[in-house]
Symmetry: C2
């Protein structure tokens, strides 16, 4: 007899079925007891009447793994979903001890360090599992949206010879007799691959040696990167990004409706045209409240998010035309506005979600841009080959998967949007 | 007017269209000249009659990026595909110089180091691009096969606290004030996640500090990992692997037919039941030719591959039941045959393609297995949590993406099955 998942039990009313899962809770009442058996789909209720069986289960640590055969009946309390009667129970694997917290409660109210120290177990809680399923759906939606538009998936090296963007914050690696670095982004490689495939994307880890200990930083995260050639300007990239975000949210809705309900997440609507503000217009809007340093602070972004909601009923807002001194050397300048670029950010609910832009595509422009920043061109020789040998106008963007998930679900700490976070102090589990 | 790809030109006979791409070749004949324009889909032929235009193109380095507007006509030489007449040409971006080799020739006969040093340009050759598209299709087929069977995609950390399997060959990373290591595989993490999601897969980089300089080794490669819970034994994993391989090949066939033709690749048929040999039976078969050390050499595998083709008309062969001393500590022993395990390899055309097996699932068994190998359990504490708190019988497998692609396409060196290989001496481009 093949196994049925807990969530599908109600489709088998009156039938004899087999469930497999984890002993989540044993509720011992006077007349009868209930076993709650958790599997990847949900939790099934099993009604127990045999005192010997109840006794044996009571002696098992929670999270022991069981196979339960029984007949599906309407629930005694009238709630939907069915319950299992007349069970036969086989122990597949006993846990050595019960976990130090209750996985059957609606919320896992644990201090963050406990939650993370016990990640292999705390992730079993349905709310944590739901976040992971949502992340998987978002990544799938990202890929699917891009594949449908002729993008090809690539895998670029994470071990690189020089710090990706000439900057600090890289992790050195002892690579045989040399020092290598962990890639901070696939930026250079995805651009090079535009010369080959025109439209590429990558889903992979990136590494940032930023010594920040905040609820918004991870030192290793999953970057969803895309890059496309033959664009007119950054507006083509923004239009593509709009469709990709809509595709990600569409797949999240399609694939994880029960998880969204469990988490109480309301998915945003992506407008056909996301409103766009030029950086200078954003500054004017912010007025005296705006940052004078030419950058947008978190408070600025929040104010702009409120403005977009008020004026355009949109939870998304593009800010384009960032000043050149705030963007990397490969950013394409705005030919009409000296000092400003074709770089943009996408804000979601008043926080930066995506960074993108048009890039330089002419070899001489790269040499000039590097020289202007006093960077030696030699370490960039491999990258610059792509431009020496002909590259079309191109641009792209990068979305942090964990950030996307945290924003969507309202998680207070990005560490809870990933399985096994890496931060200043944490390298395990 | 929106752009048409070269491969779609023949669908627009008689129409005025726009092409965009790279100047691959200018063939100057007496009466007229031909421009070959390469884009991501193929190469289009443009007929040139204007001497001024021909002159201007002749002065451009190859690989300059052009926009060509013209009318699609039948080819003068009667071959299919159409050609572009009466072109107007706009230079989108000039290359600074022509590449040091000809991308328009059917084969790029370059020494390997040149091929790799110039990867951003050599990858533009249609045969190299085809390999990359094939790899993307294989990875997509892997994911799709598993998603269809209830597997969830995960992303596990590549920075780990201890050498993954207690062994050597790890790259150390300077992680703030500590030493971290690059993960050699997601093995421990995918097992832990079986406790959460039951069925998981991951596509991501793995890092092996093996000081081998061979045509079959990379120090960074893409591992296609899957792990599943609630199995009876390793045979369930083998059956799943069979379906995944069939799904990968099916997607390669569906998505990259033109690339397969270009490369002259004949895809293998995956039998409904891949033949299985126990390790001891394989040894008997090999007789005196077999390795006496209890391991299968490359020659042994080749002989077994020939046997499978001869006896079962199969290009695939499972070898199961590897001796315990050849498998990692987490491998599930064969309870019927002391000293042997439920670990298996899948051979393809006489070479190992996939390694997998059933794993231990009981906490005490892990403690005993570690002790038997004189390994301290402390560095494994995070991993062991999963088993302390209840894990079902489970197993999985790992496929090296580059190896899969190299075997399928008959590439002599695995470095050509990846974009930017990392080996003993190579960290760039």
């Amino acid at each position: 007899m093949s196994r049925i998942l807990a969530a599908a039990m109600s489709e088998h009313l009156g039938e004899e079925i087999v469930l497999k899962g984890w002993l989540s809770q044993l509720r011992e009442l006077r007349a009868l007891s209930f076993l709650l058996l958790r599997d990847r789909s949900g939790t099934a209720q099993v009604v127990l009447r045999d005192p010997g069986m109840i006794q044996r289960l009571a002696e098992l640590p929670r999270e022991s793994v069981l196979e339960v055969r029984g007949r599906v009946a309407q629930r005694g309390d009238g709630r939907p979903g069915g319950e299992l009667h007349d069970p036969e129970i086989r122990l597949l694997a006993a846990a050595s001890e019960s976990p130090p917290f209750d996985l059957f409660r609606p919320e896992l109210n644990l201090p963050l360090p406990t939650m993370l120290d016990y990640a292999p177990v705390s992730l079993r809680h349905p709310r944590r599992r739901a976040v992971i399923e949502l992340a998987a759906a978002a990544a799938h939606g990202f890929r699917q949206s891009l594949r449908d538009r002729g993008f090809v998936e690539i895998h670029t090296p994470k071990l690189v010879e020089a710090a990706t963007e000439g900057g600090a914050n890289v992790f050195p690696v002892a690579y045989f007799e040399r020092t290598a670095y962990l890639a901070q982004s696939p930026q250079f490689y995805k651009q090079m691959m535009v010369g080959v495939l025109e439209r590429v994307f990558e889903v992979g880890p990136v590494f940032r040696a930023e010594p920040h200990d905040t609820p918004r930083h991870l030192n290793e995260y999953v970057s969803l990167d895309a890059e496309m050639g033959f664009i007119a300007d950054h507006r083509d990239v923004m239009a593509m990004l709009r469709n990709v975000i809509a595709g990600m949210l569409g797949e999240v809705e399609r694939a994880t409706r029960p998880e969204l309900d469990l988490l109480g997440v309301e998915l945003p609507v992506v407008p056909d045209e996301i409103p766009v503000l030029h950086f200078t217009a954003a500054e004017r809007l912010l007025g005296a409240a705006g940052a004078s340093g030419g950058d947008l602070s978190a408070a600025d972004e929040a104010a702009l998010g409120a403005w977009a909601r008020r004026e355009h009923a949109s939870e998304f807002l593009f800010v384009e035309g960032y000043p050149a001194d705030q963007r990397p050397f490969y950013t394409h300048p705005d030919p009409e506005r000296p000092g400003f670029t074709r770089g943009f950010d996408l804000l979601f609910r008043g926080q930066e979600l995506v960074t993108g832009g048009q890039r330089l595509h002419r070899y001489e422009d790269y040499l000039a841009a590097l020289a202007a920043r006093h960077l030696d061109a030699a370490p960039f020789a491999g990258y610059l080959q792509a431009f020496r040998f002909g590259m079309p106008p191109h641009g792209g963007f990068a979305i942090g998967l964990e950030r996307f998930v945290a924003r969507l679900t309202g998680l207070q700490n990005i560490r809870l949007a990933t399985l096994f976070p890496r931060d200043l102090t944490r390298l395990s589990p």
